[in-house]
């Protein structure tokens, strides 16, 4: 796990490029405290900082091929690097290290862009070809590792693992994009490929980028979700399915445990994290360290479940108490770690801090279990609603309008969400896209100043990549559609992005064994009725891990991992929020409608509507982020 950076420009001299890349690497030094390096060749300078996990003694980057043609900077981990070595050695490559970076370099040198499908792991890398004067960069299939880039006016290209590092190149204005701020209010994250800043972009998951010698930059998908063809190797009955699933789970856990440093795990006490920890223990991990966050407030802590799991599995379990006062005190550091504004992720910041202080450099997390195994209520509710839509459309328009107005007038989030579904949703894709929209369109527009409102209104209520995702999902089943929308939107834009930023803020490599291409490609074509049971959420995962997950946890109802923000925001975090929503602070956000934002905050303070906390918090994060930059 590392931070990578690069600047390619025919108009910037080597000394200036190296200065810029040095600044970029320094800005993301937390991503890799163990080593640094830089390489210049032709118009390109690549740099990186390394968190040494595999073959710590070797594997210095940038790494150049023996003939001097290819130079790579690589962020991530290729778990199957040992399996790939013999084939590449047979192809003529003489290995100098036992490091996954060299395997990546060898694979690209021998196979070009076709190497991407060989890799099992998480990665974002860039390779400079000194002979052809081209740059090739790629990102893993599901977007675990980030890669940001910007095309410069002089046909140059700058790229980095973090946006903060990209801006440190001093080649970009760093202006917040009003349309992106509008998108943030809808999704509580800025959906890729957009970022919060103008003129910058995030390379999409499963995409690669090529810069030709004439400066032309193109991006293309190298992986997409499997097409719904009649696949072979499908399970014939549920028993076989569960048995095969267990084999796949064991395999992904084994792959994700590859490291030459201590490996631990986050253990919240839910099914996903307990299954990961249980499978790690079963695969032979000894003295496994696990980490949980606990809260003093009733109804939030999963302490009992986590302890039960740790006891049953036999881990060295660590708990960390999080209080409102502690969050208030740490908030400046947390905000400094933000790469883009986010309404989520603070739990990952603390869990990563706890794990790093607990002595591990790598931690596994159960992230992705809900998306893969149908852990969200949307898997059950949206197909039902979709079946009712034709009846809804048969109602007279006047009656539909009346019902919508009544739903919108009600104060519950559920009613407003239903109104949003009924007003915009025409099929399961549209419903699934709206599912992760946090603020309904009108509420979002009300918070924006006129110009930003006009721009945002044009983008419509759906995800910006709606057309691309629906094309990718042509012919998919209902469970696949909802799973894909969760994987492609909330998981990528919020969960994985926050996990990367906040784990790396503590120099911790966070691995996500459920977010694994091999597992996904096996699971994807399996029949919906095996993967998902509307009566028992994540039944397949529970059944496949029945021997390692205590029954009490398997049978427990899902509890979302939320922090007691509604309480803290009225007490310990109130001074921060008063300051954030002050006229001076809001002055840094010309794209917000100050009166509407102030009203939102005042209403939260006075009405005691605890359900509104998330929208107030997300707006506060956006304002605080803008002030951090201002």
């Amino acid at each position: 796990m590392c931070g990578i950076a690069g600047l390619i420009s025919p108009h910037v001299g080597q000394a200036m490029r190296e200065e810029a890349v040095t600044r970029m690497v320094a800005r993301q030094a937390h991503r890799g405290p163990d080593d640094r390096g830089m390489h210049s060749e032709g118009d390109a300078t690549l740099g990186m900082c390394r968190l040494a996990i595999i073959d710590p003694a070797h594997g210095h980057q940038p790494m150049t091929s023996p003939d001097g043609r290819f130079t790579v900077v690589f962020n991530g981990a290729i778990y199957n690097y040992r399996e790939l070595q013999p084939e590449l050695a047979a192809g003529g490559w003489i290995f100098r290290t036992n490091c996954d970076t060299e395997v990546l370099l060898a694979a690209y040198a021998l196979k070009g862009a076709n190497c991407l499908k060989l890799f099992r792991g998480m990665f974002a890398f860039a390779i400079w070809d000194a002979r052809e004067h081209t740059l090739f960069a790629a990102r893993d299939s599901l977007g675990i590792k980030p890669l940001y880039y910007a095309i410069l006016p002089d046909s140059g290209l700058v790229l980095a693992s973090e946006l903060n590092a990209l801006l440190a190149s001093n080649q970009l204005p760093g202006e917040i994009d009003p349309a992106a701020a509008g998108e943030f209010l809808a999704w509580f994250s800025v959906p890729a490929p957009h970022t919060i800043y103008r003129r910058t972009a995030a390379l999409l998951p499963g995409h690669c980028l090529r810069r030709d010698s004439d400066g032309r930059v193109t991006t293309a998908a190298w992986w997409s979700l499997p097409a719904p063809a009649r696949a072979t190797g499908l399970a014939g009955n549920y028993h076989d399915f569960v048995h095969s699933l267990r084999g796949q789970l064991d395999d992904t856990i084994r792959a994700h445990s590859v490291a030459d440093v201590p490996v631990g795990a986050f253990l919240s006490g839910g099914l996903d994290s307990t299954a990961v920890v249980g499978l790690m223990a079963k695969s032979g991990a000894t003295k496994l360290k696990t980490f949980s966050l606990i809260f003093g407030e009733n109804g939030f802590s999963e302490q009992a479940s986590a302890r039960l799991a740790a006891q049953a599995i036999g881990t060295d379990h660590h708990e960390e108490l999080i209080t409102g006062a502690r969050v208030a005190s740490d908030l400046p550091r947390i905000l400094a770690a933000f790469d883009q504004p986010t309404g989520d992720g603070i739990n990952t910041w603390y869990a990563s801090q706890t794990a790093r202080q607990g002595g591990v450099k790598v931690a596994l997390s159960g992230l992705g279990g809900d998306e893969l195994f149908g852990g969200y209520p949307s898997f059950r509710d949206l197909p039902r609603l979709n079946r009712l839509l034709p009846l809804w459309r048969m109602l007279p328009a006047g009656l539909r309008g009346k019902i919508l107005r009544q739903l919108q007038a009600r104060s519950t989030t559920r009613s407003r969400k239903l109104a949003d579904f009924l007003a915009h949703g025409r099929d399961l894709h549209e419903l699934a896209s709206l599912q992760r929209r946090v603020l309904p369109e009108q509420a979002q527009l009300d918070l924006l100043a006129p110009e930003a409102r006009t721009q945002t209104e044009r983008l419509g209520p759906f995800h910006p990549l709606f057309e691309e995702f629906t094309a990718e999902l042509a012919g998919a089943s209902p469970v696949q559609i909802i799973s894909a929308w969760e994987l492609r939107t909330y998981m990528t834009d919020v969960l994985l992005r926050d996990s990367d930023v906040f784990s790396m803020a503590h120099s911790l490599e966070l691995r996500v064994p459920f977010v694994d291409r091999t597992l996904l490609e096996w699971l994807w074509p399996q029949p919906d009725y095996f993967k998902f049971d509307p009566r028992v959420m994540k039944r397949a995962l529970a059944d496949a891990t029945a021997d390692v997950v205590p029954a009490a946890i398997r049978q427990r109802r899902k509890q979302g991992f939320t922090l007691p923000f509604a309480l803290w925001m009225r007490q310990e975090l109130r001074p921060f929020l008063e300051d954030t929503f002050s006229p001076a602070s809001l002055g840094a956000c010309p794209w917000l409608e100050v009166s509407a934002v102030t009203q939102l905050w005042q209403k939260f303070k006075t009405t005691g509507d605890t359900r509104a906390w998330s929208r107030v918090w997300a707006v506060a994060m956006l304002v605080a982020f803008a002030n951090r930059r201002a």
Binding site: R426, D427, G475
Partner: protein, 359 residues
């Protein structure tokens, strides 16, 4: 083969659907075979015929009847004409129930649908679903439209959905061999052509106007010409005035074909950053005149515009649109490459595809 062609309009208006239905009329007349005959029934045209009819038909056209907007007449004539037809071609989704009715009276009749774009990008009523499932072929103007049909009716057999991209009107296309005269950096002239209706705001004319202040920072003399008429015109004029670019935007109103050809001929580039084009015939027309195009990365447009003939932008992103316009002015595409690309959609190509699809 005897073919009955149902069209919403052929000559009453000069919108995209009328233009493409004229191409269909010519295509079925040319391709119905030596013993075949064509009947044409047009819902909205006025009786009395149009002098251009002879251009788009031949001796295979047995009759062309215009119904002056009378739906009753359109339905009854369709059922009657269908008696001697082997194939009924519906020029619009709304005609499908008529095809079902005609088939009930004449069980041997097959019917096909021309799916243009946004009219089929939606959920279908029970009757429409039934009619779509019974169609012999559905001719989609783009792969995007084909995907939308599959999205909203997954049980449609994929082999019945055939992509037949729109074509240039053979009598509109520029046949001159004039070299492309480019005047970049002086006073670039950007052309857009669209119906300026409130219901069609997705065409993105307002984003073009909003892009002008950004564009003027790079190209101070850039001008926008808006060809088209509609009830959204006052709003667009007011928008241009409020942004201080009223003098750089010229609204020409609706124009005839000759004037439109001149507009294409004298512009530097064509732009229509629309979000919901099934195909976008106007891009083809501009490209036939050698002009590069800017469109939105949405609907069927990416199947018409590629990097060698223009640039695609994300709908609604005004700064990106301005940069794309400036980029095309600074680095115009090779007009011969652009013309060749348009030629790949020429009428003979369309005719071959249509014949294969209807066989």
């Amino acid at each position: 083969m005897n073919i009955l062609l149902l069209s919403p309009e052929l000559f009453r208006a000069d919108g995209g659907i009328a233009r493409i239905m004229r191409a269909y009329l010519k295509g079925v007349c040319d391709g119905c075979g030596p013993s075949g005959q064509v009947d044409s029934l047009v819902l909205n045209d006025q009786p009395g015929g149009d002098p251009r009819l002879s251009l788009y038909s031949n001796s295979r056209l047995r009759r062309n009847e215009a119904c002056a907007g009378s739906r009753l007449r359109f339905v009854t004539r369709a059922v009657r004409f269908a008696r001697t037809a082997d194939l009924l071609v519906c020029g619009h989704l709304h005609h499908l129930p008529i095809a079902l009715l005609a088939q009930a009276f004449h069980p041997g009749l097959r019917y096909s649908l021309v799916a243009h774009g946004i009219e089929v990008w939606r959920p279908y009523s029970w009757l429409e679903r039934r009619a779509l499932l019974g169609a012999h072929r559905i001719l989609c103007v783009s792969d995007y439209t084909r995907r939308q049909l599959r999205r909203f009716l997954p049980t449609l057999a994929p082999e019945r959905l055939i992509v037949v991209p729109n074509t240039l009107d053979p009598y509109f296309a520029d046949n001159s061999t004039r070299p492309f005269v480019n005047s970049p950096f002086i006073a670039p002239r950007i052309l857009t052509v669209a119906r300026l209706a409130t219901a069609d705001r997705y065409k993105g004319i307002d984003t073009l106007i909003e892009a002008l202040p950004h564009l003027h920072q790079l190209l101070p003399l850039a001008r926008l010409r808006v060809v088209g008429q509609g009830d959204d015109l006052p709003r667009l004029r007011a928008l241009a005035a409020s942004l201080g670019v009223a003098r750089a935007v010229e609204f020409t109103g609706a124009v005839d074909d000759e004037t439109l050809r001149a507009e294409y001929e004298t512009c530097d580039l064509f732009a229509l950053p629309s979000r919901r084009e099934g195909f976008g015939l106007v891009y083809l027309e501009a490209m036939a005149h050698g002009k590069p195009c800017v469109g939105a990365r949405a609907g069927g447009v990416p199947e018409v515009i590629n990097d060698s003939v223009g640039q695609l932008v994300e709908y609604g992103r005004v700064p990106e649109l301005a940069e794309a316009l400036a980029e095309l002015v600074r680095r115009p595409r090779d007009s011969e490459v652009v013309r060749r690309h348009a030629a790949s959609f020429a009428f003979p190509v369309f005719q071959r595809r249509l014949a294969a699809a209807l066989s």
